[in-house]
């Protein structure tokens, strides 16, 4: 990067409060042309706030915002886009039912002189643009036919086509499979070589190190440093993010499991998205189901819990064979617990923590009428056990950070302990600190003699906690491994 270049975008001395919380304090940030500038930090460090100011979503803040050397004040995201700042959201804002071409031109479809949408030229332009960046796909097909990775790419293109010179990418890879991540990183590099400037926000520090020219680290709303690509290593970034030197514990601890009894047995399980699944989980072990998104491991987890229909095969838990087509209630009552990959789907965000914890157990807490006092008595020990912060049981779950929400989703199953705990993507979207806490909880369950199944597409998570790993690809088990001397590469090569 040429340090003598004038920044095209510059934030000076930015501060922002929400009621009594100081989200950003005197933060400086700048971006030069043709640069990828990454922004990292733990959840709640102020990344999202800064990004929202950049993209014109927050219009009230202290400090100044310069674009091309001139001070500017955006009134809306639309306003920012008009000035060439395009935002790519963490959650896709494309419309899956519409065609690729239409998505690219959303809101500004070209029209003929009769005022009718000019499909021909729209599709031609779309095809040409995608081709120029190395993507050859049928733009007349509905977007939902394509993978999540392609959808993400389309989202990026859309911002570019609407004239964005600066792209703000918020966790662009959090939902992508490793292959798709590679594709996206290549795209970012291509865009950079074309002279576009990119602000890249991500939890995945390895990506950041790969792709960023400079990386700014935020901690508690303060910018604690900007590193050049030579200086930025994962360890240094983590150190800055956490404000302390970290001791690495990415290698799983060796365990001599004292239990060897099989707890859960799955025989010849078949469904539309997976087939011939044979597995067992022993008491006191963590079994990893690893595979890319779409490998069928998440659906397998749901099938065990009675939320996904399977065609044949049997599930035997602690000697008891589940009836075919069992309900989630049956699964719960017989000792299965399940926490899904989406906290938004599993929690009532407006409801108090304790009510989220007692949700599956109301029938045990009060047959006809659950009582608040009894519910609290049941929930509070669980809250303490997983160390929810702040621990106030009356707080709405939506006010907690992502990691603490996940702890609530786990704590829910501790009141009436299950035999086997199934978790999909237990650490998705979490910062380093929360991640290690949640993984620590899983280890604790193992050591207390539960069986644990972790389904994930993140090799780091699988490698960090699992004793045995089952690798799935396209609905089949392709490999079974002991987690000894394994590394990420080895795992990813098996898919």
């Amino acid at each position: 990067m040429d340090v003598n270049k004038q920044p095209i975008l510059e934030l000076k001395n930015i501060s922002k409060n929400f009621r009594s919380i100081q989200a950003l304090q005197h933060v400086d940030f700048d971006l030069v042309e043709g640069e990828v500038h990454a922004l990292v930090g733990e959840n709640g460090a102020g990344k999202s706030t800064l990004m929202r100011i950049l993209a014109g979503i927050y219009t009230e803040y202290e400090g100044s915002y310069y674009l091309d050397g001139k001070e500017i004040q955006f009134h809306s995201p639309h306003d920012a886009l008009e000035h060439g700042i395009g935002m790519i959201h963490q959650e896709l804002s494309v419309i899956p039912e519409l065609s690729v071409a239409e998505n690219l031109f959303l809101g500004r479809q070209p029209v003929t002189r009769w005022g009718i949408i000019d499909w021909r030229s729209m599709e031609q332009v779309a095809q040409k643009e995608l081709h120029s960046l190395g993507f050859d796909i049928d733009v007349t097909m509905p977007l939902e036919r394509f993978s999540l990775g392609t959808q993400q790419v389309i989202e990026v293109f859309r911002a570019i086509l609407s004239g964005a010179r600066v792209l703000v990418m918020d966790e662009p890879t959090s939902a992508l499979s490793p292959a798709e991540v590679k594709q996206l990183i290549e795209l970012v590099k291509t865009l950079k070589s074309q002279g576009r400037s990119i602000i890249y926000i991500s939890h995945f520090l390895e990506e950041v190190v790969q792709v960023a020219d400079r990386t700014t680290v935020l901690r508690n709303g303060v910018s604690v440093g900007t590193l050049d690509s030579q200086e930025a290593t994962v360890d240094r970034l983590i150190g800055l993010m956490l404000g302390r030197e970290i001791t690495r514990s990415t290698h799983p601890e060796e365990i001599g499991s004292e239990y060897q009894e099989t707890l859960l047995e799955i025989k010849d399980l078949n469904a539309d998205v997976f087939s011939d699944i044979n597995l067992n989980v022993k008491r006191g072990e963590i079994l990893g189901l690893y595979g890319p998104i779409g490998a069928g491991h998440f659906d397998l987890a749901r099938a065990l819990f009675g939320l996904y229909k399977f065609d044949s095969g049997s599930i035997i838990l602690d000697g008891k064979t589940f009836p075919h087509g069992h309900s989630a209630r049956y699964a719960i009552e017989n000792g299965l617990a399940y926490a899904t990959e989406s906290r938004r789907k599993s929690l009532l965000l407006d409801d108090a923590i304790y009510r989220n914890i007692t949700m599956p157990h109301l029938s045990k807490i009060g047959t006809l009428a659950p009582q608040r006092a009894k519910e609290l008595a049941a929930a509070v020990p669980a809250i303490q056990q997983v160390n929810v912060n702040p621990p106030d049981p009356l707080n709405p779950v939506g006010k907690l950070s992502g990691g603490n929400q996940q702890k609530v989703a786990i704590a829910r199953w501790l009141t009436f302990p299950p035999k086997v705990f199934i978790m999909s993507e237990p650490t998705r979207g979490m910062d380093v600190g929360a991640k290690s806490e949640v993984l620590g909880l899983l280890r604790k369950f193992r050591d207390e003699g539960y069986g644990v199944i972790v389904a994930s597409s993140e090799p780091e998570t699988i490698l960090a906690v699992c004793d045995r790993i089952v690798v799935m690809s396209r609905g089949r088990i392709v490999s079974r491994l002991e987690n000894k001397n394994l590394d990420k590469d080895a795992l990813m090569r098996l898919i």
Binding site: A328, R329, K345, S346, L347, P360, L368, P370
Partner: protein, 342 residues
């Protein structure tokens, strides 16, 4: 124009920016429908001499009682994020069937009333099963039910009014306890229904399941709740209350009329939503429905009590006041319901 806009915006911003510690301010905001009710009461009390007289207050209660019975069931349905468009027609069917059995077929009570309510409950059950098992939106199943029930009413009545009703129905609809100035039975029935609904929603496991399913169906299923069963039961409850309201309405009017309950569909949804229950499900309560009902009743009755208002303008004014009340509700109470798409 622009300056008023900014003033309003900054006022709203100030209200939203109230510190978390100011519990009172938040309580004040959360009770927005109650303040609307108080404001209406104050206004009509000052504007009309007769409004605050006990006999008129009793009138208000009597006037909203039928609506209250409809609203009890509808509260369950809206809390679940569903809708029932069939209630008015189902109520008419319940009344017409009851009246026909009693008058034309000479079947003694309680069978006619029980049959009317029973058929209404059954229709609710059918809507619920169709929606739950086949994933048809309740909007569609209950729209069909509206036609089915309405069609049966036409078939049974041949479009004619039955002007004879049983003593039981008449007692429920227009009887009074404690002489002519006593408490109308219809009010007691409405209170009992609302109370029953409140207890179920607030204090039972099933009530919690209704809230859970309405707020987040996926989360409810993950917690092992049979959300299909919850939907079926709720639609059945709504069918039951509609049938019951039909009988009550018949007793009040001393006749079964094919179109007597027509306006109740919109009024019911209006009253429940006015109380602050969300159409999207998960938010609201029976107590809020009570407030909504009282706002509705006060408004209707109050306008009748001000003789200077042009009678032909009343509907228009009702509409305007409703819109304002809804705006107040969302600005104050719906602070969390801001658009969070970005």
């Amino acid at each position: 124009m622009n300056s008023t806009k900014t003033t309003v915006a900054s006022l709203v911003e100030k209200l939203r920016a109230l510190p978390k510690s100011s519990v009172w301010a938040r309580r004040f905001a959360a009770l927005a429908p109650l303040w609307t009710l108080a404001a209406l009461f104050l206004f009509f009390g000052l504007a009309s001499e007769g409004f605050l007289r006990p006999i008129n207050l009793r009138n208000i209660l009597t006037q909203v009682s039928t609506l209250a019975i409809f609203a009890t069931g509808m509260t369950f349905v809206l809390l679940l994020g569903q809708i029932d468009l069939g209630i008015a027609a189902v109520a008419a069917l319940s009344a017409m069937l009851g009246a026909h059995m009693f008058t034309k077929m000479g079947i003694p009570e309680p069978w006619p009333i029980l049959s009317g309510i029973g058929v209404a409950t059954l229709l609710g059950l059918i809507s619920g099963v169709a929606s739950a098992r086949f994933r048809i939106p309740t909007f569609m199943t209950t729209l069909a039910m509206q036609l089915i029930a309405g069609g049966l009413v036409t078939y049974i009545s041949k479009g004619r009014v039955i002007t004879e009703v049983s003593d039981v129905a008449a007692f429920l609809g227009s009887g009074k306890i404690g002489g002519n100035d006593g408490l109308p039975v219809i009010v007691i029935v409405a209170i009992v229904m609302l109370l029953l609904g409140h207890v179920i929603l607030r204090y039972t496991r099933f009530g919690r399941y209704v809230y859970m399913t309405g707020a987040n169906k996926a989360a409810a299923r993950l917690a092992g709740v049979n959300t299909n069963r919850v939907l079926i039961i709720v639609m059945t409850i709504c069918g039951f209350t509609a049938g019951f309201a039909g009988i009550i309405s018949m007793g009040r009017l001393h006749s079964a009329q094919p179109d007597a309950t027509e306006s109740f569909l919109i009024d019911t949804i209006g009253a429940v939503v006015l109380g602050g229950t969300s159409l999207a499900g998960g938010r609201g309560s029976m107590l809020q429905t009570v407030v909504g009902l009282l706002i509705y009743g006060t408004l209707r009755n109050g306008l009748d009590n001000i003789p200077t208002i042009d009678i032909y303008l009343k509907e228009f004014i009702t509409g305007v006041v409703l819109l304002i009340a809804l705006l107040i509700n969302t600005v104050f109470a719906g602070r969390e319901q801001r658009d969070q798409t970005i």
